[in-house]
Subunit: 415 residues, 2 copies
């Protein structure tokens, strides 16, 4: 279960109610018209579950993901947070970046005979992914015309170059619905197929997301629309939105959120203005010793959303050790780290409230596939709602095209 | 060697020249009066080098760091970037956060008989560090009254509770100069002792930093003062400063920078105003698929500094593999990943320049201890210069005290 609470004042006037209702309608329209597909992934991805179940791949101990951005961030997020709670999950290696040092290090970790390879690219033409995939084929001497093709899976849009490649070699492919963008694709084949193969309970992740989306469209999670309204209405005063997660293993989740928020909302709006809200991902209690000073005493241009896990289900007691000359630290003895980290979260939130920084908090009763599914759905819906209010296209990313063109021009001129 | 280049226009008027000269004088004064100690660490830490050399600790294969914030970020930064270039570096484990899942996972990796333990806290009273240290003592059954004390090292201010503890058990301690703050302490015993024990060439790191600081005070790196001036003068228009490093292994370095910049510059100034510049750490090419859209099309409130490594010295060629139906990707064959990632860096920078975003770039000819030392010194000096111009105390962090008080109150009331 997810609980939501907030410290910021929010008195709804008629104007605000109208705007919120309009946004709700616009999202319903996006969903029911099938213009935007992620809302229905909890249902449509049941097909992916069945397809994976039917695969009967045996004798593997490792999964190698070749993908970047929307084709890896969501997988890494779910992997990291659920792994301590998932028995016998297979190892997953990630080949993302075009950094030669990273690629060399990761290649050495591949157990060729025990690995499954997922090459993931929505467009099918991502340069890092293509370059790394070729390198893996060469390094592992994969024979695409022989049995090796049974250990390779492509996840891509139907009709893409990568899809044509898979057809050419009769490699199993999973398709991403065309109306689902990369950063909204974690609950499509992109996340479901490899994570399920690795042993994660993706049916429950989908159920958690589906239930949350259903509650939202049923009108029971309106706090989300109010928050989107608040963040957008304060975009001049507080253009920076901090996500402060009190759990190390939510670090990849915060990176997933950063992509979702930055790439969706950083846009030129229908009036031709540059708009956007800047996400910052922090981890508590570590970043109390880093970024927190800036939030409290620096320019008051930030809101802060906390994520807290009530019960880590893997607790550890601070032992009853007395150390010479620091006996005064004994007050901590016998407490648990679960208590400590959550007391730190509470104290930090209270100090921000005292400093009049707008805060809100999402509390998970514990980490479960359902809760993580709901958390994913929450942030996706929040992003869509903010996008409607900002009068932008939430789902494209035209700004990065110029860099790609320059890159291709430079690389081809060189060859 | 570090090379610096920038795209932003900067015509110096007399006012600007005066301000820059005043800042230069103020920094010289901080240094020569010994008010601020980090400037002289490249010299004063020679003593730490000698002390470590004299230790003759043998038969260990692992170093366990117990520390958080300024007591771990710098160590992790140097460790991560230099490790692929350092032969036989010992494994380092980090126990930082009060997250029970992390602590449990890391405890299991400790090889008790082969580990050295560094407990690091400038103030000596950090709650995470104390709690974890007690847990490690208990978990590893360390006998502080027996031989085990020879495998424990304390790094702290002289006169701190942790220092008294070390004295009480005759545990070797290294002291941090009192005029060196936690986030400026990586070149003090905090970084030098454990990293040198692990096998990193800290003498060369210190030399690289020392040479850079000498060149700066000799008047040869004035571009740094100009940049500090520029960033501060544009703090209203572009309050967000992005550090975009094109190398996976600079991720911890960007986290170190984020602490340095955020905690140093997020302050109430001498006029009582909340001021600050917000750092964001990105990794290229990965974050081209995430945050870049926001920088290019979103609100134009960001500057971007690139870090590029000219020669990774660990290159990898994209093999001459032709894949059915995607033969058009063959243009990449035969190029190296070193070429690709740097072409991506150049193309991204060019696209930002075209979008009129202020950018600059730091190019390392390659990764070496000297270059990393210089890079550390560069960002420390830049931070100090910006602090002078912002009329703040760069070196304290009063804002986080309230949260600590609330925490202690809550925890003690509970007990």
């Amino acid at each position: 279960m997810l609980n939501f609470d907030r410290s910021f004042d929010f008195q709804m006037t008629q104007t605000e109610k109208t705007k919120i209702n309009e946004t709700f309608k616009a999202l319903k329209e996006e969903m029911s018209s099938d213009e935007i597909g992620y809302y229905k992934l909890p249902q449509s991805s049941q097909e992916i579950i069945k397809k994976v179940e039917a695969l009967h791949v045996e004798d593997f101990s490792q999964i190698v993901i070749i993908g970047i951005g929307g084709s890896s961030l969501g997988i890494k997020a779910v992997d990291q947070i659920l792994r301590p709670y998932t028995k016998n999950a297979k190892e997953i290696l990630y080949l993302e970046n075009s950094d030669p040092v990273s690629i060399n290090l990761t290649l050495k970790k591949i157990k060729k005979e025990k690995a499954l390879f997922f090459v993931i690219s929505k467009s099918g033409g991502t340069i890092e992914t293509t370059s790394i995939f070729k390198t893996v084929i060469h390094y592992c001497s994969l024979d695409l015309n022989g049995d090796d093709k049974n250990r390779i899976f492509a996840i891509t849009d139907s009709g893409s170059a990568l899809s044509d490649f898979a057809k050419g070699y009769e490699i199993t492919q999973f398709n991403i619905p065309l109306n689902v963008g990369g950063r909204f694709s974690v609950l499509s084949a992109v996340g479901v197929a490899p994570l399920m193969m690795a042993g994660f309970d993706m049916s429950s992740v989908l159920r958690g997301a589906g239930d949350f989306i259903e509650r939202f469209f049923g009108g029971s999670e309106t706090h989300l629309l109010e928050k989107a309204y608040y963040l957008n209405s304060k975009s001049k005063e507080t253009p920076i939105n901090v996500l402060f997660s009190y759990a190390d293993r939510l670090e990849n989740f915060t990176k997933w959120f950063v992509q979702l928020w930055a790439e969706s909302l950083g846009k030129i709006d229908t009036n031709g203005s540059h708009v956007g809200l800047t996400p910052v991902g922090l981890i508590g209690a570590v970043d109390q010793h880093s970024f927190l000073q800036l939030v409290i005493e620096g320019t008051r241009d930030k809101t802060v959303t906390f994520i807290k896990i009530e019960d880590f289900k893997d607790d550890l007691k601070i032992p009853d050790v007395t150390l010479k000359n620091i006996e005064k630290t004994n007050f901590i003895n016998g407490k648990t780290f679960n208590t400590l980290i959550n007391a730190q979260c509470d104290a930090t939130m209270q100090s921000l409230i005292d400093a009049k920084v707008s805060t809100d908090i999402i509390t998970l009763d514990f980490v479960s596939p359902q809760n993580i599914g709901a958390l994913i759905a929450y942030f996706e819906l929040l992003t869509s709602a903010a996008g409607v209010m900002m009068h932008i296209n939430t789902y494209n990313q035209p700004g990065v095209e110029l860099g790609k063109q320059i890159l291709y021009k430079n690389l081809q001129m060189e060859s």
